[in-house]
């Protein structure tokens, strides 16, 4: 047989084609084994995914918990107020404003995404109520005391988009503490870390 002859170049080793096929197969196997963390319908195909679209409180994964953000007390304080410019709104007053429901994903830069059905107040309605100009940037601030993503800046394009909400509810229930109770930002096409949770102040820039 030719393959045992010493002149056969690929005897016992990987040929160039074999090597390239192997690298491609390794990339394919790893992709399939982890893709479920970001493509929900494939989660059952992916036994090594670091997240599952339906794990976590209210069937949505969490990146930073309320405990890690150290907001366990401030977020559930009955004296909570959302300050928007000169406005100061209690949770009850926020709930009394016109509510809208949107289906929007959390898309984490760490490589997972999951979709939620969010209900809350449109950011542009709040800004109008507070008299913030159409073309102003705003900064959304969290109750979180430390961390580089404690605040996020929202451009007029995002702030005025009808899909951009200050969500009070997820899947019909009040937000879980880990999802940003009492109130979080959720906007389309925005990295998860900029969907600020535990919002307590909106400042015009």
């Amino acid at each position: 047989m030719a393959e045992s002859s010493p002149r056969e170049p690929s005897a016992g080793g990987l040929s160039r084609r074999g090597f390239l096929t192997t690298v491609g197969a390794a990339a394919g196997v790893l992709t399939l084994a982890t893709v479920g963390a970001t493509v929900g319908p494939l989660s059952h195909l992916s036994p090594l995914a670091t997240r599952r679209a339906t794990s976590g409180p209210q069937n949505l994964p969490v990146n930073k918990s309320g405990r890690a953000a150290r907001v366990e007390e401030t977020a559930v304080d009955p004296a909570y107020k959302l300050v928007v410019g000169g406005l100061s709104l209690s949770l009850f007053e926020l709930q009394s404003l016109p509510q809208h429901t949107e289906v929007l994903p959390i898309t984490c830069v760490e490589g997972w995404s999951a979709v939620g059905r969010w209900t809350g107040v449109r950011l542009r309605d709040l800004l109008d109520r507070a008299g913030v100009g159409q073309d102003r940037w705003v900064r959304v601030e969290s109750l979180e005391q430390a961390g580089i993503y404690r605040t996020s800046e929202v451009s007029p394009t995002y702030a005025r988009d009808p899909l951009t909400l200050l969500a009070l509810r997820l899947g019909g229930e009040p937000l879980a503490l880990d999802h940003g109770y009492p109130c979080r930002l959720i906007a389309p096409n925005r990295p998860g870390v900029l969907q600020t949770k535990w919002v307590h102040r909106i400042v015009t820039l």
Binding site: G13, L14, S15, T22, A26, L30, A33, P47, L48, G56
Partner: protein, 137 residues
Amino acid sequence: MRRLLYGAGAVLVVWGLYGLFTATRHPRPVPWLQFFVGAVAVHDLVVAPAVIVIGVLLARLVTARFRPYVISGLFISGVVLLVGLPLVMGKGLRSDNPSIQPLDYTRGLIITLAIVWAGVALAMLISVSRRKNTSPR
């Protein structure tokens, strides 16, 4: 020419070290050093010897005809283990956030490796049947 290259390299090294201590507000050179030296040490002391030993065993135990398939399988398994072992060991788990790494990764790793080796076995079978079909000519 050589001195020029040494000089350019030295400038880059100094620039890197400068960045290590100034790029963030709280520089942490020790974890960097662990990674920088550790990665090389793990490669030279663990990965390379393991590959050599496995290569010797392969040459003794597996016929030349099937060796490329086994090499492919081991290569893919190594990449899968690189991703899967930290998950099996629970690296990155947090007690306050059960949504991180919610699956049974021991099971996941076994399933993934089983599929890889089933693929290797299938490729071997196909090659055997092809040889049988072509050799009588």
